[in-house]
Structure formats: C-alpha cells, structure tokens
C-alpha cells in the first residue's frame, strides 16, 4: 500500500475503480424511520416516519431545535441508539460504493472473521475486489447483526460527535486513538504503517504530525475537533455523520473547520449528514436541508430554496430568528411560544399552537411530508378553488420547485382553499436546477 493510495484525495483512489462513483448518487436512504423512547402507551415518539436520502459528495443539513429528534434520528440510522431508545419501524438502506468489499454478502455472521481479514487488505486486494464485485450492493442497516454492523461501522459510516473532549479518551494520545481505529478495522496493517497513516490523517485535517503523541487536553478545542474528524475519515468512509461538530467552538475556529470539511468532502467524495440547530450556518454549508420539528421532518429543500423561499411556517419562523448581518435593523419576533415537550405533542400538526396561519384542520390532521405539487397556475383571476395557494405561488410563471422539495403543511395542500401567505409563497430560486433521483447518470464523476 502506498501512501498516496490512502492519503491522497480519494479522487485518485476512486479513479482506480473501473466503475466511477458519481456525485449525487444515493448512498444512505432512510425510509419511514420511527423511533420511540419507552414501550407501549408510555412511549415517547422521538422520530416519526422520517425519510431522508444522503447523496455522495453532498452535505445534507438536518436542522431543528433541541428535542426535535435530530440526533435521535442520526443515532437510530447508524444503530448507535441506546436504551430506552427503540427503533419501531422503517429501513435504512446503505448502498455501498462499487468495489468496496465491506458489505455483508449473504453469509450473515459466518464470514465475519473472513470478511474482516479481507477488509484489512482492502488496498492490497483492490484490483481483485473490483473485478469480483463490479456492482454496488445495498443492505438495510436495521437488519444487520453485530458482526455485520462491525464491518460497516467506521469503515463505511463514521460519526463525529459534538463534544470532542468527551468523545476522545483523555488518557490516550490522539495518535494512539487513531491507530486503534486502524488496528480494529485493518488487522493486516503493520505498526509502522498505522503510525504513518495516523500522521497522514492528522496532516490532512491541518494538524502537524508532531502532535501524534499529544493528549486531548494538550490540544485546543478546534484541534480536538479536527482530530475527531481525522479519526472519522481514517477508513475513508462513504458516509460521515456530524452531530453539532462545531457548536462548542468559537466562530473563527468553526469557520476554519467547516472550510476544511468542505475541502475534504470535495477530495474524498463522502456524503455528510450535518446536524445543527444553527440554520444560518447550514444555509452556507449544506447542499440540501431538512428541517425537523417535534420528531417529524416538516420541510426539505435545496438550501438556497429553503433560505429564499421557505414553505413551512416553522422554517420561516426559524429563519427569522437569526438577525441579519446587513441592512436596516428591524424588529423581529422569532416564533411565539416554546417547542413542545415530546411527551405531550400537540394533536394534528405539532406546530399549530405556535403557527400564525393555523387552519382548523391543522389541529386535527397530521400533515405528511409530500412533494409540493408542480401544477401550472391558471390565469390570474380565473376561478381556482382547488389550487388557490399554488396559483398564488406560481404567479411569476415560476414552478414551485416541486421536484426538489417537500413540505408537511396543510397551507400547501392542493385541497386547501385558503391561500398561503405571501411570505410562504415566494418564487423558488432553484426550480429548474433540481436533479431528480433518476437523472444522476448524467451527473459529474467526483
């Protein structure tokens, strides 16, 4: 294994594969995921029917307030959820990269040891592998048993936790901790090789190699977080889940680390799920954003579309909770009330008690996350009882951005006769440029 093999931007690594990996291709699909805390009538529904798709080379932002279930969703999808958390439904499909030898392939558990060995020689066996497995494989992470999970975790899906100080072991040097990852998942790798790789990883995230023997307390908060990122990327995973990775950091450090992440994403082509409560940060960072409220996804859109033309009243309120950095100062109100307790979620749409546009229906029926209907508006002034909100949305001749965005709100239901308010029906800025899932074949190779 040569150094360039692992350290160099995986653009090089990928190019060695015969089947190119394409940016925008789904790599992790979360379908109908439900998570409860507790059992039976006592259960708190922390995540209800969540559907999300992570795509290669893209950052999916998951925004929400504390207690909205965003971390629970991520932990459930990676099977890291602890008791009393319980996954009650759904599936999490992981589509492995062609040639990656790590997915369990039928002989459940029995070949766990074999597989791990093979895995160890991933790079040595690369050529053999790519001939043996030319197509991508898929597996439902919720169905895997422990040995199988072991092969997917960290190798293919890794996690960066919020508090690096708590996530790192204080009595072991960061170099050792990175080498531990390699030792566990790459048993065939020698000691010198591991050390070399650990130095490469640290340098990749902007820490000099002489820091290898430093202990977590000897590093600044930003450096600790970088070390966490290095560790998460040690095995070149296809998916990286980041749970508030920069929340505890100062803005300058935060910005540096985000720049680093974007660069690494471009180089290595992983898909990232970025969880944060800071929507203003996500808009700059993420390709696509999903907004969560009281355990449900309420809106999903490209970040520019979400920022310029929010469709859900909660998204609009959240956006208006961040004072702008430019322009005249005008009074803002944020959102009235407080986020609900998950033990007593309001009926119907959980947001209705705080919503300024709540309809009668909102307190009764739960709105589902559905694509916005792309209906062409009838001429202005024409009778349009069925499509009133959309008629207004589209009066600039613009589409609703329906292909790329979804919203869970009765205001946008075609059957609702009430017109959506102006601030929730601005023209979508990215209507035309939304790739639909079937069109990725034409996408660029990363």
């Amino acid at each position: 294994m040569s150094a360039s093999d692992v350290a160099a931007p995986a653009a090089a690594g990928n190019s060695q594969l015969e089947i190119p990996v394409q940016r925008g291709e789904p790599v992790l699909e979360i379908r109908g995921l439900c998570v409860d805390y507790g059992i039976g009538d006592e259960a708190t529904h922390a995540v209800v029917d969540a559907n999300l798709v992570l795509r290669r080379g893209e950052v999916l932002g998951l925004a929400g307030e504390s207690g909205s279930g965003k971390s629970t969703l991520a932990y459930a999808a990676t099977r890291l959820l602890r008791e009393p958390g319980l996954i009650t439904g759904g599936e999490v499909l992981f589509h492995s990269r062609p040639g990656a030898p790590s997915l369990p392939d039928g002989g459940r558990g029995a070949n766990g040891g074999r597989g791990a060995d093979k895995h160890a020689d991933k790079h040595a066996d690369k050529h053999a592998d790519k001939q043996a497995r030319p197509v991508a494989e898929s597996a439902d992470l919720l169905e895997l048993d422990e040995p199988e999970l072991q092969r997917v975790r960290w190798s293919e899906i890794s996690v960066v936790m919020q508090s690096a100080l708590n996530a790192l072991n204080p009595v072991i040097s960061i170099g050792r901790q990175i080498e531990d990852v390699l030792r566990a998942h790459r048993p065939g790798m020698g000691r010198r090789m591991r050390e070399k790789r650990a130095i490469e990883l640290l340098e990749m995230v902007g820490i000099t190699g002489d820091r290898l023997r430093s202990y977590p307390h000897e590093l600044s908060g930003g450096m600790r977080q970088r070390a966490m990122i290095a560790m998460a990327l040690a095995l070149e995973p296809q998916v990286v889940i980041m749970d508030e990775p920069t929340t505890a950091l100062d803005v300058v450090t935060q910005r540096e680390i985000l720049e680093e992440l974007i660069r690494l994403r471009d180089d290595l082509g992983f898909a990232a799920l970025f969880i944060t409560h800071d929507l203003s940060l996500l808009i700059e960072l993420a390709d696509e954003i999903a907004v969560m409220y009281a355990g449900r996804l309420v809106e999903r859109a490209k970040s520019a579309a979400l920022f310029r033309a929010p469709r859900h009243p909660y998204t609009y309120g959240l956006l208006n909770s961040f004072p702008p950095m430019h322009g005249a100062r005008t009074p803002m109100i944020g959102i009235a009330g407080a986020p609900p307790d998950l033990r007593a979620v309001p009926s119907g749409c959980a947001f209705h008690p705080r919503c300024p546009h709540a309809l009668e229906r909102c307190s009764v029926d739960v709105p589902q996350l559905v694509p916005l209907s792309p209906v062409i508006p009838p001429p202005r002034g024409a009778p349009n009882p069925g499509h009133a909100p959309n008629g207004d949305l589209l009066n600039g001749g613009l589409l609703n951005g329906a292909a790329g965005r979804e919203v869970a709100c009765w205001l946008h239901d075609p059957a609702t006769s009430v017109k959506a308010p102006e601030e929730l029906s601005r023209p979508d800025p990215v209507t035309a440029a939304v790739p639909d899932p079937g069109a990725t074949e034409g996408g660029q190779t990363s």
Partner: protein
C-alpha cells in the same frame, strides 16, 4: 490608551449609569510543579453604560468578556482600575456589595443553573424584594408586577411553578425578573440567550430592548454572537485576548469594521445572505493569556501586522465620531500623542478601509525606528488549513 470608549449619553443625563475606567484583572495561577503564572484576563478596559442604551461586548471564549461583566457586578474584584456609578466612584473591594447590588444586577447564561430547582418562582422573586426592602405593600402584587414586566402573563400561571416546570425561555425571564426586583439602573446580561432554543432567543432579546426603552435601563449584553449584538445593541465593543480592540455604534461596527480582528470575526460569522464563501484573514486561535504577545495581542494573527505592532501596544484611535479602534493601522502619525487625528471618512467599506489602512501603514513604516526588526509585514503563523494554533494552556 486611556480614552473612554463612551457610549452616546442619552439626553438629560450627564454621567453614564455605570462606567469602568482601565479595569484590569490578573489571576494568579499555579499548576502542580510548574512555575506560578499570571493570567492577564482583562487589561485596561474602559467602557461606559449610558441610561436607555444597550452596550454589547463581543468576543470569543477567553477574551475576558465574562470577567468584565463580573467585575462590573463586583463579583470579581479588579486588580486595578476605577468603577463609577452615576459618576460617583465606588470602592473596588467587596464591602457594601448589597447597596451596589441595588443598582447593578447580573443575569447569568444558564437559567437551568441560576435558579434553585427546589424553590418556586414566588420564592425566587420574593427573596430580593425582602432583602432590599422593595415590597412596601403586598408581596404578591410586587411579584405579579415583576412577572408582567418580563411578559410572563398572567402571573398566576407562573408564580407557583418550579423551574423544571418552565421552558428555558420562561426560566430566563424569571431570572431577569429577579434581577429587576431591586429596580436596578444597570442590568448586566452575560450570554443571556445562548442556552436557549433558537426560536425563542429573539423573545428574550426583545424583552431586553423593551426594558431599555421603557425602564431606561443601561444594559450590558455580553455575547459571542455578533448578529444578535447588531440586532439589540446601540454600541458594540469588541474584546480580544483581554483587551478592548474596537468600539462603535452597532451598525457602523458591522458595516465598516476598523480593526482587523473585528473584520476576521465578521467574516467568520454565519451569514446566509453572503454571496460567496468568505476568506478568513488571520485564522488561528487566540493567544495564551499567561504570556500574551508583546505589543498588539492580535499581531501574530494579523494579516497587516507591522514592526510597531510587535513592540508597542496600539493606542485607541478615533476612526470616526463614536467609533474607535486600538490599532496602529489607524494611526496617521506613529507618535501616540497625535493619534486622535481624524481619519479619512472615505473608507467606509471594509475592503476600502483595509486597503487604506495598508497604504497608510506602508507610508508610515519608514518613520518607525525599529532597529533589528524584520520586514514589517508578515502573515499569521498559520495559513488557512494549518494547525489551529498553540496548544491550550492547562
């Protein structure tokens, strides 16, 4: 250096409600067998809080902003400096704190920690009323009045609740109500919204704005969030490594920052409206406060650092009326006695300002007698993407 970074006094008031002059706090530290050291937490900070105004203190963690707030509350005794309440000097020592507390109140960051979980809202609010003899008539009426002032209405719904029964925003409102119980002139709020959910932060900020306007309070708003400071404050002061680096009316500070550190802070702040990704000038981390850099403490990171920056502390220069910055770039003539010279008003945008500053710096460089110094401009030690800075002192 000693110039007061004054907030505009409101009409009809001469002295600011609370003024700090050259406050300095040095903490002695000792770590095991290591040599004892001194943490220069706050040095030579002057700030004036006028009635009916909000002054925001912005800075990164470790910049000394909370230490400043605690010194103003007299919880921490300053090493040196003066504290003036309504123009009258108050002793720095801890004595007579109760009387002082009747004028100046502090609200802390975490309402989950600052309220006692075993006591009800009624108890929390009755304590200061009793201790400061504020409730002449009925205690219940006084408490109701306080709850209404912080928009916990109707008071009956909240008065017998315990902290765990309230949301974060409501808890912070109770903490503010408790501070208001003594009818203070000055409210010091140390990161009052950073622990709250995003959607309810504005509610608390608007409450502070309301108290400023209706109760004519002088408010110090300590925060790391420059956008919220811009929203709420009349004046923003920026702290870096224990020193005050810039002070200006809030929109002017964010629209035309004069100090390179303020510029860095603004470029790093999240801003969804930004067209292109920002470029960070001066990446890296704040220095150790045990052995802070000589001269200007920002010079190791500053993209415009000159020889003089490494040797001498920068003077506080008035950039425009009400806007001052502690930076050599704005010194037209390097003799500190003439630093008050008005700067050109032309450079109003950040880019223009930086450019002008560079030009000035280049012109003035030969005048600086700095034998043995290296070329006067150097980049920070860490380019973007390089190590985050020196290891944390522990």
């Amino acid at each position: 250096m000693t110039e007061t970074l004054a907030t505009p006094a409101s009409p009809g008031t001469d002295a600011p409600a609370l003024e700090a002059r050259n406050l300095t706090k040095l903490f002695k530290v000792r770590h095991g067998l290591r040599r004892p050291g001194t943490v220069h937490a706050v040095e030579n900070v002057s700030v004036a809080l006028a009635r009916s105004s909000v002054t925001a203190v912005v800075g990164e963690s470790g910049s000394g902003k909370s230490t400043l707030a605690r010194m103003l509350a007299r919880i921490i005794t300053p090493t040196s400096g003066e504290l003036l309440l309504e123009g009258t000097q108050v002793p720095l020592r801890q004595r007579h704190r109760q009387e002082y507390a009747g004028h100046v109140q502090l609200v802390l960051q975490d309402p989950f920690a600052s309220l006692n979980p075993v006591h009800s809202v009624r108890y929390h609010l009755s304590r200061p009323l009793k201790i400061h003899h504020m409730a002449d008539g009925d205690m219940g009426d006084a408490i109701d009045g306080l709850l209404r002032r912080v928009a916990l209405d109707p008071p009956g719904r909240f008065i017998d609740k315990y902290p765990h029964e309230l949301s974060g925003g409501q808890r912070q409102r109770v903490a503010i109500a408790r501070a208001l119980a003594v009818q203070p002139d000055v409210l010091l709020a140390d990161e009052p919204v950073s622990m709250l959910d995003v959607s309810i932060r504005l509610g608390v900020l608007n409450l502070l704005a309301d108290l400023r306007d209706k109760s004519r309070l002088a408010i110090l708003y300590v925060t790391h969030d420059i956008a919220s400071a811009r929203y709420l404050a009349d004046t923003i002061v920026v702290m870096y490594a224990g020193e005050l680096v810039e002070s200006a009316p809030s929109t002017e500070l964010t629209d035309a920052p004069a100090h390179p550190y303020t510029q860095l802070l603004l470029s790093a702040a999240p801003d969804p409206a930004r067209a292109a990704p920002p470029s960070l000038a001066g990446a890296g981390a704040p220095p150790s406060l045990v052995s802070p850099p000589s001269g200007c403490r920002f010079h190791p990171r500053c993209p415009h650092a000159m020889a003089v920056c490494r040797e001498q502390r920068p003077p506080t220069v008035t950039v425009s009326p009400g806007h001052s910055a502690a930076c050599w770039l704005h010194v037209s003539d390097l003799r500190p006695s003439q630093t008050q010279a008005a700067q050109t008003q032309a450079a109003q945008t950040q880019a223009a300002q930086t450019q002008a500053a560079q030009t000035r710096a280049t012109q003035t460089r030969p005048a600086e007698p700095a034998p043995g110094t290296k070329p006067s401009r150097h980049a920070g030690p860490d380019g973007p993407g390089k190590p985050a800075g020196p290891p944390k002192e522990d």
